[in-house]
């Protein structure tokens, strides 16, 4: 029984590039893992709640197991005590995976330039998109999500990403 797309296409064959097809799928079904530590996590909650509604971008399936996620959203300050855990979570995520550093703290340490705060998570794991703000507004989270989607569009399934990254914990 033909109901949707197949009803109008019938037996037609569509040819496309593998990258185009896979990337199209990846773009609109990002499953985020929320590494929420601080204030930014509250703003992520707002981004996910009804008013901003992250599901409009296909990223509402929030997972709390790194094994089931492909987008790591680091929301909040990462201290040196937290850093090995962040690295472990990142490593547990299956490829391909993308990382967003949400807010000033995750991006650069923010106002906490001191003995316990990691000065940007890009010293530990590779980061794809940074969001400014302390904390950023929910719209900024959606903006970052769109930026990741655009980035995915231009990637190739044949190439490994960030193979030779070395951080302070490596």
């Amino acid at each position: 029984m033909a109901l949707g797309l197949e009803a109008s296409l019938g037996d037609t064959v569509i040819t496309t590039k593998l990258d185009e097809c896979v990337n199209w799928g990846r773009q609109y079904s990002l499953w985020p893992f929320i590494f929420g530590t601080a204030c930014c996590a509250i703003e992520f909650m707002s981004a996910a709640a009804s008013q901003h509604d992250i599901s409009r971008f296909g990223a509402e399936v929030v997972r709390f197991s790194p094994r089931q996620a492909d987008l790591l959203l680091v929301c909040g300050t990462i201290s040196y005590k937290q850093a090995p855990i962040l690295k472990r979570i990142y490593e547990q995520m299956p490829d391909p995976k993308w990382v967003v550093a949400m807010g000033a703290c995750a991006s650069s340490g923010g106002i906490y330039d001191n003995y316990c705060t990691v000065q940007g998570i890009d010293t530990i794991i590779p980061v794809d998109v940074f969001i400014s703000g302390c904390p950023p507004r929910p719209e900024a989270v959606l903006d970052a999500l769109i930026a990741i989607q655009n980035q995915i569009k231009g990637e190739s399934v044949l190439k490994d990403r960030h193979k030779d990254f070395k951080g302070i914990l490596d």
Binding site: F35, G36, T37, A38, C39, A41, I42, E43, M45, S46, A49, S50, Q51, F64, G76, T77, S79, Y80, K81, Q82, A83, P84, I85, L86, I89, C105, I111, Y112, D113, N114, Y115, C116, T117, V118, Q119, C134, P135, R137, I168, L169
Partner: protein, 571 residues
């Protein structure tokens, strides 16, 4: 009241020097008399200081006035019934030898003294579990010592296993190695966090389970330690306000108010009536928001997602209101030393009333879903009970303490900002179980809304900042048009508000309990030392007392109903 408290304390401890600083009686004792002094203050009926508010240390290395010893340890104690606040100071001659512990008197000292050890390297003789708490186990040195450079970070390569600690806890609960080896004893270790949805932030909970029952529990905090206190030592008083936003970020403005109030109390500034009313209105509004987030999260943990939307959507709408007023959604930075950033905008009163009506509807709907809900009752009543005595001993304050039947609320017991003239009740629980901790927040929201309505009705017109060129910035017209105004502005911004030298403690009833600030000033525009007394930290210190003997699923909802906020917990 404190004059009589001073007389009594001085009479009881003739060897010690006692003086009154603001609301508290400060007692200076030698280390050899410390134990005796503390236990008498706790146990004698005249003092009855059952609540240990805080313990901290001071490093006088760079302090202009010479002191008897480089380090001092300060215990802050409270008799909540008679509103007696006592600070016991003792010099520490050799930090490696240290001073005797107070853990046998107050459970709160376990966490408190660990923090002092971690940050200042002061040993406490007889402490059962003296190890780092905020910094990681591979950290070397003690960051709050004045000779520790602020920017010197230290990498942590792996997390602490906590194996020794959980075994010690099991042994303390009467499960020795022999029992554990027995084939009929099936103890399973379960670790939750620090990255786990149930922990609402970064806390690590390690439990030893028999089936699903928790035999022993140890917790690890400090994952969000971001050096508030060290950073504050390098900022002027007004520059610290944005840092306070990020303590309890669910009720950021309450931290702003508490902080500004603490500085103003030492400066002896009486803020304008309008500013007082604004602080009451905004403080209570944030109390409502804080409770809403706590309840929303707690109900999600219990499986009630609908409640979450009823509560969270109103909070989201309230952010729009707050950003109209302050320009920011979450981190408001709205107070200044000596007043507020600005007055309410035109039409605020109507907007606020509209939001309050929405909020009432939101939590009314959420309450209807749980009030007579058998599942909620069965899951929460009689679960994770904490007695009033244990709650006080572990330094629990705020809704968690009141749920255990202790009607201690600074708004009633040590009123500030005209709280004594508002008509409101302090809801008190009877069993100290999860149900009480839970419902108390619903009732407090109702009371807070009552206060907001009264305050908005009686708020006087007038300026929001004091007219004191030593404290508040001059109007912009003066800054741009005459040299005195410009110089005044420049000096206040660059040097900060100057506070007289001294040491003081001031407390405020925040959404989670007593939020206190302990300052040491050397007379400059930057605090020499600033210690936060965070309500969450001590609540977390008593967490194992609540959950041991209960099920693992109860521990999860217990954690959400005590509202642990990482920023405030770890600072």
């Amino acid at each position: 009241m404190n004059a009589t408290a001073l007389e009594k304390i001085q009479a009881a401890f003739p060897d010690a020097t006692c003086k009154v600083v603001l609301e508290s009686v400060v007692v200076d004792v030698q280390p050899e008399n410390l134990e005796n002094t503390l236990s008498r203050l706790k146990n004698e009926a005249d003092f009855n200081c059952g609540l240990m508010v805080d313990v901290t240390a001071i490093d006088y290395l760079q302090y202009p006035q010479p002191q008897e010893a480089r380090f001092y340890v300060v215990y802050t104690l409270r008799n909540w019934e008679k509103n007696i606040l006592v600070q016991v100071r003792t010099p520490v001659k050799d930090p490696d030898v240290g001073i005797p512990t107070a853990t046998h008197l107050w459970g709160a000292a376990i966490f408190g003294e660990r923090e002092v050890y971690d940050q200042y390297g002061i040993h406490f003789q007889g402490h059962p579990d003296l190890r780092r708490i905020l910094n990681h186990w591979q950290f070397e040195g003690h960051p709050l010592r004045k000779d520790y450079p602020i920017e010197k970070g230290q990498v942590c390569l792996e997390s602490d296993s906590l194996e020794k600690e959980i075994r010690a806890r099991l042994a303390k609960k009467g499960l020795d190695e022999e029992t554990l080896k027995d084939i009929n004893t099936e103890v399973m270790y379960l670790n939750i966090g620090p990255s786990h949805p149930a922990t609402h932030g970064a806390i690590r909970i390690l439990t030893a389970l028999d089936g699903e029952t928790i035999l022993a529990n140890v917790n690890e905090v400090g994952y969000l330690h971001r050096g508030f206190e060290k950073t504050a030592e390098n900022r002027t008083y007004n520059q610290i306000i944005p840092l306070t936003d990020r303590l309890n970020y669910c009720s950021s403005m309450m931290n702003n108010i508490a902080y500004a109030k603490a500085v103003e109390s030492w400066l002896g500034i009486e803020i304008t009536e309008r500013a007082k009313f604004m602080r009451v209105v905004l403080g209570e509004f944030y109390r409502v928001l804080d409770h809403m987030v706590c309840l929303a999260a707690a109900l999600v943990d219990m499986g009630g997602l609908t409640n979450y939307w009823y509560l969270y959507n109103e909070k989201e709408a309230a952010y729009d209101l707050i950003s109209r007023l302050t320009g920011a959604r979450l981190t408001s930075s709205f107070t200044r030393i000596g007043g507020m950033y600005r007055d309410f905008y035109d039409g605020w009163k109507n907007d606020l009333e509209q939001h309050i009506l929405d909020i009432e509807k939101g939590f009314g709907d959420a309450l209807k879903l749980v009030d007579t809900n058998r599942i909620v009752h069965d899951r929460t009543q009689g679960v994770c009970v904490v007695s009033a005595e244990t709650a006080l001993s572990y330094g629990l304050t705020g809704p968690v303490l009141r749920a255990s039947g202790v009607p201690y609320d600074l708004r009633k017991d040590a009123p500030y900002y005209n709280y004594e003239s508002f008509d409101f009740e302090v809801p008190v629980g009877s069993n100290g179980d999860i149900y009480d901790r839970f419902m108390i927040r619903f009732y407090e929201m109702k009371e807070s809304i009552k206060i907001i309505r009264q305050a908005m009705q009686h708020i006087p017109e007038g300026p929001v900042n004091v007219k004191d060129s030593q404290v508040c910035l001059p109007p912009k017209a003066q800054v741009y048009n005459n040299i005195e105004g410009l110089a005044n502005h420049f000096k206040l911004v660059f040097e900060g508000v100057k506070t007289p030298p001294g040491e003081w403690y001031d407390a405020y009833e925040a959404a989670n309990g007593e939020l206190g600030f302990h300052f040491v000033s050397d007379g400059s525009g930057t605090p020499y030392k600033l210690k936060v007394r965070p309500p969450c930290f001590y609540t977390m210190g008593g967490f194992h007392k609540m959950v041991e003997g209960n099920m693992i699923a109860d521990a999860v909802i217990n954690l959400s109903c005590i509202n642990i906020i990482g920023g405030e917990l770890d600072r």
